[in-house]
Symmetry: C2
Subunit: 195 residues, 2 copies
């Protein structure tokens, strides 16, 4: 049983998996070895071979620079700063942003030892000095850490003499959201920043 | 993005995964390529190479016959019939059964086209004819399909002249279960079959 148990252990490391769901997944894979397990291995190997972080924005892609950075049709004068690639994907799915990105390595979190260096802020400053932009959209989380990161980056930009418009995502009631189900913080924000 | 999207699609096929959780998993793997993704691929390949269904009981194992069938210390006179390997694993984890197993391919489900042949009932009959046992424990689900399968197997055994004690798992309130949280069916069963 050791090979199976080893694979279950590996699966349990993936976020969203616990011991039981990992067992179920492994059993499913073993039952569908030709149709699911082999293609999955091939796919993973392909990703491992071809995908690398973009040296400009930090996105993961098979081309270098990534397909967003090398897209001539996108507006290079606006950079959207996101905390990770999942957020970049979410913005790309909405298809409402046509500028470039800068992917941070999370948000400032002194407890976890994540400071400005780990975050990739110096790389952002260097990038902006080399090719100035008109606007930076801070698409960072509304958590305390996210907002601290936002303020840290804004002041670092100023200290480095980078004069650029810094905006952040609008906050309020989500599309189709029922007031009844909203938390107090969101409602008070929506009232305070009413249009 | 195509390689990444392909891998996300593959992951979304695994039970327990949706599109969003598959995205999260793939992102995690790409971030931890050395520590998680490579070992995961290696593990999957090892399982693919070494694991095969046991020709006797249907369990999946790296040895043939499986480690349970070839274990001389286990009682060969009792066979526990389970609907799949997940249930065999659950029984093994409880470490309360020391006999052999027979793994069915699910339960009878005419709508899904699963009849006795697909289930592996003929293989069970053949096995019992070749080496008779004292008792068969039917560890099948309490669902209608499970109970139909139980009765089908019992009558098939009789029709084939196999005289064996057929038992099934006790039903009632689970260990530590609160009456308050039990469904009506379980409570009425527990009353009816009270000890």
């Amino acid at each position: 049983m050791t090979e199976i148990e080893e694979l279950i252990k590996q699966f349990a490391h993936i976020p969203g998996f616990g011991k039981s769901s990992a067992r179920r997944a492994v059993l499913y894979l073993m039952k569908k070895r030709e149709k699911v397990m082999k293609p999955l291995i091939d796919s993973m190997e392909k990703v491992l071979e071809t995908i690398n972080p973009c040296p400009i924005c930090g996105n993961l892609d098979s081309q270098t620079p990534c397909h967003i950075c090398s897209d001539q049709k996108r507006d290079s004068s606006v950079i959207c700063v996101v905390k990770d690639i999942a957020d970049l994907w979410a913005l790309e799915r909405s298809a409402c942003f046509n500028g470039k990105y800068h992917v941070l390595n999370g948000v400032l979190s002194p407890i976890d030892g994540i400071g400005p260096e780990e975050l990739g802020v110096p790389a952002l400053i260097k990038r902006l000095k080399a090719s100035p932009v008109k606007e930076i959209i801070m698409a960072l989380p509304t958590s305390i850490e996210g907002q601290t990161t936002l303020h840290y980056i804004s002041s670092t930009l100023k200290n480095n003499g980078i004069d650029v418009k810094v905006s952040s995502l609008a906050r309020g009631i989500p599309f189709g959201g029922e007031l009844d189900y909203m938390d107090d913080g969101t409602i008070s924000l929506a009232i305070k920043e009413r249009l």
